[in-house]
Subunit: 115 residues, 2 copies
DNA sequence: ACAATACTTAGGCATTGACCTAAGTATTGA
DNA sequence: TCAATACTTAGGTCAATGCCTAAGTATTGT
């Protein structure tokens, strides 16, 4: 398996582009071929293909080719790494802020006693 | 307020860099000055400052300068947009996969009846 | 067989991103 | 006051990204 940090790099990078996020959203509805995916975008096909390549390389989607048609689909577990990092961050922040809160509360209480 | 999609762009983009993610992790522990944040990195200060600028521009952190020291801190709510997008995606995927599951289950049941 | 379809590869060009050094500016401690 | 400290600005290089056109290759319908 690749480095944890590098995986996060490429996942965040992949989703930093609106075209690629839209592709992901479209694939939520089910698998689709290259041309189906490309259709809504006003972009040359080779340019669009690069986006699909980015999504596939970071593991968010997979594809197989049958005949002359390549079909893409989501890899549902692929978001987990990012979700966990975000979840983790927010947990830590919140805990720290809670501690700060109770500290300030405690401080206020003591000040009151000293009145 | 800025566009929803553009905000996601800049948030994902900001977190696509390991240096910037490490800064965020460090700031989870509490506010810190530029030089405190820069210290672990083997990087010229101006280069590092650019990272801080990116984090501030996308709203993940804020800073104030007192005397000659600039102090950075997290903006706890800043991750929400991303978390919601991810949450949403995963919800949709999962629901679709569940439906597929029950469809396949149903199919199998009917095949069994036709035996 | 051969034209149409569905990608694929190759190569080019402009912008952005991540780094650097060098030279500022603004505070602060001695 | 003047040197040290803590950034800040300016500008320059190099690689990666996002787009393009032109020219492939492999399948499939007629």
């Amino acid at each position: 398996m690749t480095n944890y940090s590098e995986s996060l790099d490429s996942l965040f990078q992949a989703l930093a582009d609106p075209t690629r996020r839209t592709v992901i959203e479209r694939l939520s509805l089910g698998p689709a071929s290259v041309s189906e995916l490309a259709e809504p975008f006003d972009m040359a096909l080779p340019s669009f293909l690069q986006h699909l390549k980015v999504l596939e390389q970071c593991g968010l989607v997979t594809s197989q080719k049958v005949g002359r048609v390549r079909t893409y689909q989501l890899v549902p577990e692929a978001l987990n790494l990012m979700r966990h990092w975000l979840q983790n961050q927010q947990t830590v922040w919140t805990r720290r802020l809670d501690q700060l809160d109770s500290y300030l509360l405690e401080l206020a209480k003591q000040e009151k006693q000293n009145e």
